[in-house]
Symmetry: C2
Subunit: 222 residues, 2 copies
């Protein structure tokens, strides 16, 4: 009896954008030209509709930004609230959060990209930055706990370790593109190796139980 949101749009009224498909296009343009550098006219011409039509869906440019970065933030917060991130040794929880964050980053690449480029010039941007800082603090607490449990090196400050770890993770948005032969799981495997055990080869150290010898996880470069 009650039609779903997509149902309603397709049955009644003109065919056109719903909020989700509009956001998908808007985020792509924001990432190409920068949020500040994108005019509502840019968005309208890319969407194939007029500027005013956009205001049918959202109150303005800032709401487009808010809805977009919240989509990324909601999924990242969901990760740290999953049971695997809440119990067990902190080092395992940290690895879990890292792997799941990479999955979110890959699945929602344009939205996470936009989130990471927010600078804080407007209210919506400052709101996004505040939520980011809250996420960073949760991760930082996890790193600190892992250090006090003795599973993370004690000769580097936990806050610094946390920043470098997620700095490396976030940098993935700069070059990762799907459909280039590197899956999210292969990427996460390689990332965890580099981050947790370093890029140096250590012939004297015992290898982890049967690291798959078949694939090297080559990312088809460029």
């Amino acid at each position: 009896m009650t039609d779903g949101p997509a149902e309603r749009a397709s049955r009644r009224g003109r065919p056109g954008y719903d909020l989700d498909s509009l956001l998908t296009v808007a985020v792509r343009v924001f990432n190409e030209r920068g949020y500040d550098g994108t005019s509502m006219e840019d968005l309208a011409s890319r969407l194939g509709i007029t500027k005013s039509a956009i205001y049918h869906h959202v109150a303005g440019k800032e709401e487009l930004l808010r809805l977009s970065v919240d989509r990324a933030l909601d999924q990242l917060f969901a990760v740290v609230n999953e049971p695997e991130a809440q119990r067990g040794p902190a080092i395992d929880r940290l690895e879990y959060v890292v792997r799941r964050s990479i999955a979110v980053l890959v699945d929602e690449l344009p939205f996470v990209t936009l989130l990471l480029r927010v600078r804080g010039n407007t209210a919506a941007e400052r709101r996004a930055l505040a939520r980011r800082r809250e996420f960073d603090r949760l991760v930082s607490d996890l790193v600190e706990r892992a250090e006090s449990e003795g599973s993370i090196r004690r000769d580097v400050d936990p806050a610094l370790t946390s920043r470098l770890l997620f700095g490396m993770l976030n940098s993935i948005i700069e070059w990762y593109r799907p459909r280039r032969g590197l899956t999210a799981v292969d990427l996460a495997d390689a990332f965890v190796k580099i981050a947790f055990d370093g890029l140096r080869s250590r012939p004297d150290a015992p290898l982890s139980p049967a690291p798959d010898p078949g694939q090297t996880g080559s990312p088809a470069g460029a």
Copy 2:
């Protein structure tokens, strides 16, 4: 370019900005508001002069960008051309380039920040991106060489290792601020530990790097 900004200009004509001191202010504003989001009027009011006066020094906004990113790029290329980056084991050369790049990043933080935020919307931006890619290729070659020499782990693709390594390095601009108790050398020391040996504590491995006796790495000068 070691003379004080106002020294040279104080002899003839009005006291005012020379190109260097103008760039210092311009880059700061670009980083605050974004390059696209910065108007010439923004720059003028921050400088305390009129818009027209800026055109006395440069041909336009794009030239301000070009001069700024070239300052960062020139120093980064200088690093890979230093003798310590040209001879010896590739792993040592890589560590040297990492330490010196961190020193450049810290010394020229606003200029490197601007460089890393360039997106390619204008000709000057695309030119900067091309030079960045050239630098990245030099580093990537070094990582590949270190892997073929057996000093870097073989179970991760060198191009991927290189991207993660410099992704982590570049992320320093997001949070590092001078005068907060973390010197560039301390930062580089911690960075090299995390990047080369990983964040995991390894009670079974010797504390000091065992495989290569002698030096632990080049102290990067700064």
